[in-house]
């Protein structure tokens, strides 16, 4: 160990909302803060649905920390929220007004490139005042240790840096969380996979087609039989001049049933329910994908080790409970609390205590109970037990169950609006597929209209993305190329597909010594860095070097 390393009081890794919140709070408290972002611009590596919420109960919201945030960085204030139960052409729509407004100060639609880059400019100004600043194009590759303890970070583009605290806000595929042994990529059932298309809208079309005022927006959710039985659902959010239309599924459901994520997205995009909203001239601006942690299962109760504190997706802090999908707001709260914890610890002369203080704040401020509700741990988990799940599913799908759905009628809408019930929903087919399908069939009506949407082929979607390829430096390597170990990636990877040669993963038969073996090959060039293959295949997975790889323009 040399004394030549640079030192900053705080190093924040990742310039998303969690990192920005942490950095802004640190800077306001005169902590010398360096922010390192691997994208060529903040937001260039980020994807979200995306709605960002400000919760009334949260100790910090993004506009507390950045007062002009809503005016400058978001798209529309989402004031209406619906869920559509779908079976074929039959649709039964519930208004989720109460659920949406529960504990909600406001909720805005966002596109990450615009939002994160605006935040990054503010963060750079603030942190520069402290002697630090924000740098893009720098990938933090690991943790710097001294005597076995974490004391800083290592980077691809910079020499190692020591810090009194490292805030890892480096996203769902956080390499720092894995280096520290706090998170892993082992179990598909702990993750969701989201896939999204940003669709261009003519000027004025959103106001007309969605019946909203200028600056106001709407959120639509979709569940039922339109996703071939996969456990998950779809969403549509209105941006300023585009729509974010996407799907989110439990990764184990995608993996086990060999679903093609892009085809499930196409099922939504081409459903007649969306025909009038999308219109006749479908123009897809960007296709994107990401993994989403299921906080009920992976939100780390002690997201810290030594001087490392995890915030946001890196700590599994993404709340996806039925129609409640909240991630960025929790990242903001956690980021600010992590910073506050460090400032408290510093004022008491022991910066190494920051992690313990952060853990206590997450608990005391109620963040952990939102992420891992006690009622889910008891009742929800129970409902996921295979015999119970099968029975409840069969009951709802039986004539008796159908009759009950018919009898309950619109009172089901009230149940859907209960945050309490939503928090204990089991992650089974019942809530995502069977019940919504039954509701649509028993209570719904057929939608008129025909979709004229022709969705792009996967190679066109990949071709429309921007990449800076790191020639000769593949960031993912297959450890085991047998189909048994890594074949799931051929279908689960959102930029790969069966019988498609232009994606990341493809399978082929190779003859060796008179026997034929089915193997998987990998080309990282079209990779969108979602992390799916880190979970479903046997890989050595890292992010590309700073500034390399995919660059999202919308996000």
């Amino acid at each position: 160990m040399t004394d030549d390393y640079e030192h900053y009081e705080a190093v924040v890794v990742g310039a998303g909302p969690g990192g920005a919140a942490a950095a802004a709070t640190l800077a306001r408290n005169d902590v010398e803060t360096l922010v390192l972002e691997r994208g060529t611009d903040a937001g260039a590596k980020n994807v979200s649905g995306g709605l960002i919420y400000a919760e009334e109960s949260a100790p910090y919201t993004i506009d507390d920390l950045f007062p002009d945030f809503r005016e400058a960085a978001t798209d529309r204030a989402v004031t209406e929220h619906y869920i559509h139960n779908v079976s074929g052409r039959n649709v039964k729509t519930f208004d989720l007004h109460d659920l949406h407004h529960h504990d909600t100060e406001w909720a805005d639609s966002v596109l990450r490139r615009k939002m994160d880059s605006w935040l990054a400019d503010r963060v750079h100004e603030m942190t520069r005042e402290t002697g630090g600043g924000l740098l893009t194009d720098v990938r933090v590759s690991g943790l710097l240790r001294e005597g076995g303890r974490i004391v800083g970070v290592t980077c691809d583009e910079l020499d190692a840096i020591r810090a009194d605290v490292v805030v890892a806000a480096d996203g769902v595929n956080s390499e720092l969380a894995r280096d520290a042994g706090l998170m892993d990529w082992e179990e598909p059932e702990e993750w969701f996979q989201g896939v999204k298309a940003v669709v261009d809208m003519p000027e004025g079309a959103i106001e007309k087609r969605f019946n909203v005022d200028e600056g106001e927006g709407v959120a639509h959710l979709f569940s039922g039989d339109l996703f071939e039985g996969a456990r998950g659902g779809g969403f549509l959010y209105t941006n300023d001049d585009s729509l974010s239309i996407g799907t989110v599924f439990h990764l184990d459901s995608i993996a086990e049933e060999r679903h093609e994520p892009q085809e499930l997205l196409d099922n939504l995009l081409t459903h007649p329910l969306l025909a009038d909203w999308i219109g006749d001239d479908y123009e897809e601006l960007e296709y994107s994908a990401k993994l989403v942690p299921d906080s009920k299962k992976v939100a780390h109760p002690s997201p810290h080790r030594d001087r490392l504190l995890l915030v946001g997706d890196a700590a599994g802090q993404m709340q996806a409970q039925g129609p409640i999908i909240k991630g960025m707001n929790h990242a903001v709260t956690a980021g600010a609390l992590a910073a506050e914890a460090f400032v408290d610890a510093r004022s008491r002369g022991d910066t190494a205590e920051a992690g313990e203080r952060y853990e206590a704040k997450l608990e005391n401020e109620g963040v952990m109970d939102k992420l891992r509700p006690t009622r889910y741990r008891t009742l929800g988990r129970l409902g996921e037990a295979e015999p119970i799940a099968s029975v409840t599913d069969a009951v709802v799908d039986s004539p008796v169950g159908r009759a009950a759905v018919g009898l309950l009628g619109d009172s089901l809408e009230r149940l859907y609006n209960s945050p309490f019930l939503v928090g204990m929903l089991p992650d089974t087919k019942l809530g995502y597929v069977t019940l919504p399908t039954a509701i649509a069939e028993e209570l719904g009506a057929p939608v008129a209209g025909e979709s004229t949407v022709e969705t792009p082929e996967l190679d066109d979607r990949i071709g429309d993305l921007t990449y800076d390829i790191d020639e000769g430096n593949p960031h993912i390597e297959l450890r085991d190329n047998s189909f048994a170990a890594s074949g799931t990636a051929v279908t689960a990877c959102p930029v790969s597909a069966k019988d498609f040669g232009g994606g990341c993963y493809r399978d082929e038969y190779v003859a060796t010594n008179g026997t034929e073996k089915r193997v998987v090959s990998l080309d990282t060039q079209p990779c969108v860095e979602c992390g799916t293959c880190a979970v479903v295949a046997d890989t050595d997975w890292t992010h590309p070097r700073g500034g390399k790889g995919v660059e999202y323009k919308q996000g």
Binding site: L34, L135, E157, L158
Partner: protein
Amino acid sequence: MRSVVLTKGVPDFREGQVSFDEDGHLERGKTPTVMNPNDKYALRAALQTKVRQGGTVSLMSMGPPGYMEVLQEGMRDVYADDLYLLSDREMGAADTWATAMTAATGIDKLDERPDLVFAGFKTADGETGHTGPQTEWCLDMPLITHVISLEVDPDEEHVRAKRLVEAEADEIETVKAPLPAFIVTDPEFEASYHRAEHRLEHKDLRETTRKRADEFGEYLADDSEKEATEWDRFTMWNHADLNLDPDFIGLDGSPTIVAGVDPIPKAPSEREATPVDPEDEADMEGLIDELAPYAAGD
């Protein structure tokens, strides 16, 4: 650390920008003038020095008043603290030698003698690669060419550079020279910033220089203001300011005699292949006649 970077305006040879007449001659009037692309490597090397050691970076050119936009381009795209244009009719039509004399005199006239003078590896139009080394000869500094990386030690007052040496295979040579020194950067030059503090400083300087370039652009666009005021980061010197005898600069001071201009042969990959049947005597004779000058070494 004071650095001066020499640059030249050249036709923009990029596809879509450059214009040729039907005889294949460049149409200067229809082709925009831009900063010689190789000079941007020199400017990046000077910026790296500024980031690491502080000081100032001056960008200097010799040419018509329109080259002010070339200087602005360098300031906007890379960096400059101040800009110098050596310009009047007496300097026109200079060859590399007369240009070097003028540039060296311009450098000598600066308030402070530079620690480092940078030039790019040859211009996109002249392709001689002479001006840099000839200016160095006038200034009497140690010269390091084909530089791909650079480190300055201000305490020891020397510069250490890695340079490409073209032999049978590319080799890299590390050399050291006392300051002041003259550096010719290779197009393989890469600035490197391995410390966060340097990258942050680089980011600040880039933001500063973009704002300065915008200010200079406003100054260039506003004729009335130009007459009334000076932009304090821009200096224009004529031959009288430099105390240069017109007989030794410009066309009169240029020993080069251009005897003729031949079109540059196309690269082999761009030539059209003409199949010749070896059995066809007439075709073969024609081919032999065509190749004869090359065989004679002409």
